[in-house]
C-alpha cells in the first residue's frame, strides 16, 4: 500500500497522522507468528475441513489471506482452496452517531456459514468493540458451529468480555498509543494531530 494511501487510512478515523516510535516485529516475525497460529488453529479444530476465515476490513483482510496460505501450505492443500471472506463491520458498530462511521471496503461472504467453524481475523485487538460488531454481523449470515478469533496483536484495554483464541503477540500499550500492523511488521507509535 502506498504511503499516502496508508496515511489516509490511518488518519481518517482518528483525525491525525500515525507516527511510528518503535518497531515491535518485522516481516519474518509476522510470518513465524502466522505459522504458529496456523498450527494452533489446526490443532484446536482437528484439521481444516470446516474452516472459513473472515478477515475484518481493512487490517484483517491481508492477514486472513496470509493465514489461509499458511494453513494450505501446512495441510498440503491446493492454493486458494480454503474459503476466505471479508467483512466490514461499520454498519454494526455501537458508535454510529457518536463519531463519523462509514463503510470503507466490501463485505464479501459468498459461503453458507451454517455449522462451519468461522475464524475471525483482525490485525489488532483493542477494546473488543469491533469484534462485538463482527459477531453480530456473522450471525446475520448464518449459524456457525463455532466462532474463533485470531489477531496479530492483542494490545489490551478490553471494554467487553471478549478474548482472542489465537494471538500473534501480546503487546502491552498505553491507551493513547496506536499499533500499526502490516505484512512487513508491527509498529508502535502515536497519532500526531495535523
Amino acid at each position: 500500500m502506498p504511503v499516502a494511501e496508508r496515511e489516509r487510512r490511518m488518519s481518517r478515523p482518528y483525525g491525525g497522522v500515525f507516527v511510528a516510535r518503535s518497531r515491535i516485529m518485522d516481516g519474518e516475525d509476522i510470518t513465524r507468528a502466522l505459522r504458529r497460529m496456523a498450527h494452533e488453529i489446526l490443532e484446536r479444530n482437528h484439521g481444516s475441513q470446516e474452516l472459513i476465515l473472515i478477515g475484518l476490513q481493512t487490517g484483517g483482510v491481508q492477514l486472513a489471506h496470509a493465514l489461509a496460505a499458511t494453513l494450505e501450505d501446512i495441510e498440503e492443500l491446493e492454493q486458494h482452496s480454503l474459503p476466505v471472506c471479508t467483512l466490514d463491520v461499520a454498519l454494526y458498530r455501537d458508535d454510529i452517531g457518536i463519531r463519523p462511521v462509514i463503510p470503507e471496503e466490501v463485505t464479501d461472504i459468498p459461503f453458507d456459514l451454517d455449522s462451519k467453524v468461522v475464524v475471525l481475523v483482525d490485525d489488532v485487538l483493542f477494546t473488543g468493540r469491533t469484534i462485538r460488531a463482527a459477531l453480530d454481523a456473522v450471525i446475520d449470515f448464518g449459524r456457525p458451529r463455532m466462532v474463533q478469533l485470531a489477531v496479530m496483536v492483542d494490545r489490551g484495554h478490553r471494554e467487553l468480555p471478549i478474548r482472542p483464541d489465537f494471538v500473534g503477540k501480546n503487546l502491552p500499550t498505553r491507551r493513547h498509543e496506536l499499533v500499526n500492523v502490516t505484512m512487513d511488521g508491527v509498529e508502535l507509535g502515536e497519532l500526531q494531530k495535523s
Binding site: L91, I98, P103, T107, D140
Partner: protein, 354 residues
C-alpha cells in the same frame, strides 16, 4: 477518551445535521463516496437477512405532499433495511386538509422526535425551506421542477455499473426537460462525473434558457442516438402540462419516442434508462422497454441501495455537512439562485395557466 460523553456527542451531531437538497450542493468527491457506500448496501440487499442495525432507534418521516409510490416505498424499504423506524404522511390523510400550514406540520412532527424528513412537494424550494425550520436531516425526494437528487444518484450508480466510469461518456436526455426535476438533477450529476450531456426535446419542452447549463441541445433524436452511451428518456408529464406544448402525443412519439427502429440505431453496449413511471407507447415503445439494454427495473432496485446510502451517510456518518447544511443556513432568507430561477419559471407558468 474516558471523559467522552456519548450523549453530548449525539446532541452535537443533532445540532449540525446534514441535508441532501440538491445535487449542486455535492462536490465530485461526495458523489463518489455516496456511490461507494451504495455498493455496500447493494451487498446488504443480497444477504440472507437484508437488514443491518446501523440506524436502530432513529426515526425517518416520509412527508409526501405530492403523490408518489415508488419513491416513497423505496425510501421506506431503505430506512427499514437500516433498522430505522419510519412514519408515513400523505396529504390526503393529514391535517393539511384542515388548513394547517407546512411549518406547523413540521413542528408538530418534530415534537415527536425525528431524525430525518424525506420531503416531496409540488413547489420548488420547499425542502430547502423545511431544512431551515427543523433540526432533522432533510432529504429532497423531489420538489417541483427543481431537483430529485436521490433519483440522480441511483441513475449515476446504474449507469456506472454498466459503463464503468462516466468520464467522457455521452448521455442523451430525451423528452420533457422543462417540467423535469429529474433532468435538472441528472444534468448536474452526469456532468459532475465527467459525462457529456445532450438534451433532445422540442423547443416547447425546453426551459426558457439552457445557456447556463453545461449541455448541448438538439432537436434531432435520430442523429444523436448512434453517438450516445446512455439514452435517458423522460416521462411526458401530462399532469404538469396545462397548455398544449406538443400538437399530439402521437406526433411526439413519431419525432422523439424511442421506437424499436430507433433503438436498433443505438451503439453496441449502450443502455436505455427511464425514471418511471413509463408511458409505454409514448416516449418508449413497449417492446424497447423489455429489451436487455433497458435497465429500468435495475434502476428501481438500485434506488433502495442508494437511498440507504444517503440515509446512512446523513444520519450515521454525519457526512455531507458543510455543503448542503451550510447552503441551507447561509442563505437563510433567500432561496439559492438556482431554486429562484426555477421557482420564477414555475410561478410564471402558474399565472399563465390561470
Amino acid at each position: 477518551m474516558n471523559s467522552f460523553n456519548a450523549q453530548e456527542a449525539r446532541d452535537a451531531d443533532r445540532s449540525q445535521r446534514a441535508h441532501l437538497l440538491s445535487i449542486a450542493d455535492l462536490d465530485r468527491e461526495q458523489i463518489e463516496e455516496l456511490l461507494r457506500v451504495t455498493d455496500t448496501f447493494v451487498e446488504v440487499g443480497r444477504r440472507p437477512i437484508p437488514k443491518v442495525p446501523a440506524l436502530r432507534g432513529r426515526t425517518v418521516v416520509m412527508l409526501f405532499f405530492e403523490d408518489s409510490t415508488r419513491t416513497r416505498l423505496s425510501f421506506e424499504t431503505a430506512a427499514k433495511r437500516l433498522s430505522a423506524d419510519t412514519m408515513s404522511f400523505s396529504v390526503s390523510s393529514s391535517s393539511l386538509n384542515k388548513g394547517e400550514s407546512v411549518r406547523d406540520t413540521i413542528e408538530t412532527i418534530e415534537a415527536m422526535g425525528i431524525d430525518a424528513v424525506v420531503v416531496r412537494h409540488k413547489s420548488s424550494g420547499v425542502p430547502a425551506q423545511i431544512a431551515r425550520w427543523t433540526s432533522a436531516s432533510v432529504i429532497n425526494a423531489g420538489d417541483g421542477w427543481h431537483q430529485h437528487p436521490t433519483q440522480a444518484l441511483l441513475d449515476a450508480y446504474t449507469a456506472r455499473s454498466h459503463l464503468g466510469s462516466l468520464e467522457g461518456r455521452r448521455i442523451a436526455l430525451v423528452g420533457d426537460i422543462k417540467h423535469s426535476r429529474v433532468a435538472r438533477s441528472n444534468i448536474e450529476i452526469f456532468t459532475a462525473l465527467g459525462a457529456q450531456v445532450t438534451l433532445v426535446a422540442p423547443r416547447t419542452l425546453l426551459p426558457a434558457s439552457t445557456s447556463a447549463w453545461p449541455v448541448q441541445v438538439s432537436q434531432d433524436l435520430d442523429a444523436v442516438l448512434p453517438t450516445v452511451d446512455v439514452c435517458y428518456l423522460l416521462r411526458m408529464q401530462q399532469e404538469r402540462m396545462t397548455e398544449a406544448l406538443v400538437p399530439t402525443l402521437r406526433e411526439y412519439t413519431a419525432t422523439y419516442g424511442l421506437t424499436s427502429a430507433r433503438a436498433d440505431q443505438m451503439a453496441e453496449g449502450a443502455i436505455i434508462m427511464h425514471p418511471g413511471p413509463m408511458n409505454r407507447g409514448v416516449e418508449i415503445a413497449s417492446e424497447v422497454a423489455d429489451r436487455p439494454s433497458a435497465v429500468i427495473t435495475e434502476q428501481v432496485a438500485n434506488g433502495v441501495a442508494v437511498r440507504s446510502a444517503v440515509l446512512f451517510t446523513l444520519l450515521g456518518a454525519g457526512r455531507l455537512q458543510g455543503s448542503s447544511a451550510a447552503a441551507a443556513t447561509n442563505s437563510s432568507n433567500e432561496l439559492s439562485i438556482q431554486t429562484d430561477s426555477v421557482l420564477a419559471e414555475e410561478l410564471a407558468h402558474a399565472e399563465e395557466a390561470s
